[in-house]
Amino acid sequence: MESFKMALRSIAGNKMRSFLTMLGIIIGVASVIMLVSIVHGYMNSMIASFSDMGVDQINVYVTNTASRSLDTDEFYDYIGEHSDLYAYMTPTADMPGNLKNGSESMSYTSIGGYSEDYLNIKGYKLQAGRNLSYSDMVNANKVTVMGYYTAWYMFGSADAAVGQKVKINGNVFEIVGVVEKQDQTYFEAGGMDDFAWIPYSTAAKISKSGRVSNFIVSVRDSQRSEEATADLENYLDSIFMSSDLYSVYANSSMLKEMNSMISRLSLMLGGIAGISLLVAGVGVMNIMLVSVTERTREIGIRKALGAKRMAIMTQFVIEAAVTSTIGGIIGIIVGSAFTSVIGTAIGIKCTPTISAVLISFSVSVGIGLIFGYMPASRAAKLNPIDALRSE
């Protein structure tokens, strides 16, 4: 307690020196926290926007339908039998075409044939009307579920659109439902809310291929996408007897690639952060060395008056510890403040990561302690007369 008070007094008594020591630590800690937290926040926002694209989805493409084909009903049965792994499945049929309301044409609207489960796979909710139904599939009904923008553009509102008729590639379709607005930022032609879904069976009939070749399967747990991908490949192999005729691609594998990219980025980041910590550490080291050297005479006087080696060491180590800790705490505050300010400025939610705070704090304080301890230990071992004579 006594030596603690003494340390505080000495820190207050040497404001410039204490400030310089702290400055090194403040810059070190703050820069590491800022660097790591901002990049971390950026990566998180990237992952989040990627997750919106559906990491639980697996796409199945049948590339050659001439020799063998995947029967939709059989595939449905297979998915149903493995409901522990799979949640939903929909055949998909892209339909290049146009959507018309009278003479008005919607050229950017994406039109596609899907099952009634597509709404669930996308995780969307209805704004008005009903979803596509199983009987729509069986009967190949000419009905459509629209995006919010499409409905709004043609009829002014979701409610007004339900029950209206539109033309798709010359065929008259009834609008049975409208999906909730999805993209709050961009509300425009060709955007997320500009689409028309029709039953896949209807789409196959209109496009005259009469066959569905692509499927989207969603898994219950995106962690098990890899397992599901392998399982689907096995199943398809048993049907096609060749892996050249189909391809299975999980959205999550893209996420996996991104994750590995992020971990490489993190490693690089760690290197940069390490260098800035090292630079800060060298600064602290210099100040500590100079401070002990210029205080050798003080050490000599204290030893002459009967201070034991331990007492000298305690004094200097506590001083170094208090200085480094205060510097470290200021560094955490400054770093956190700047992190959120910069985060707000670039529009990313950035919060200081605990690991960055802990590592930068302990490394800087550790350096402060070691380089407070080493020269003090050397000085404490001097003959008191040699220490007294130093100027």
Binding site: E2, R9, S10, G13, N14, R297, E298, I301, R302, K303, A304, L305, G306, A307, K308, R309, M310, A311, K381, N383, P384, I385, L388
Partner: protein, 242 residues
Amino acid sequence: MEAVKFDACTEPLISLRGIYKIYKMGDEEVHANDGIDLDIYKGEFVAIVGKSGSGKSTLMNIIGALDVPTSGNYFLGGKNTSSMSDNELAEVRNHMLGFIFQQYNLLPKLSILENVELPLLYQGVKTAERKEKAMQELEKVGLADKAKNKLHQLSGGQQQRVSIARALAGSPSIILADEPTGALDSKTSKEVLSYIKQLNSEGKTIVMITHDPTLAKQARRVVQIMDGKITFDGSSEEYGKL
């Protein structure tokens, strides 16, 4: 060489036997202390006098346990310091010795009172008791009103009085004064010297180092050093007749 003894005690407080201190300067060996035997008894006031480079400061450092001799034995209070560890020597300095340096050697960042407290701090005396004791010593040198002041607010003579208070704070039996008036004018020198004499009359053993024969005569016993050897050891009256 017959030492003049002022004390009836049979055991000398300070006893030096065959003390050599040899410095290596390149290929040359410098014998700063060249075989010194010296006994100082309790209550004595001894001046060690010699020219610059005579080895008197080296001797003072050895007596003060600030430095260790190259060879020889130094008994302090009957204990051989040659076999002591660094920490044991620190304890000896702390409890038995009080230093008054030419350049005061006070700590400028601390207050006057805190400077005086230092020996007590290292003795492990509790805060309240320590402050009280340090205050008493400051009163004795007439600086109680300056206790809270910083060093730079004091004159040289006042600073030397602070260092006398500090030397006394740990209640040592021996006071070592190294050119205590070297940095002071003649008026304040007299003042400081009178404090030292008063300490001696109160029973403290005083060892004073000086290059000044006039000052040395103020002591009761004079030891003259030349080229690392004792060339005279007698009463100050005898020294005056030289």
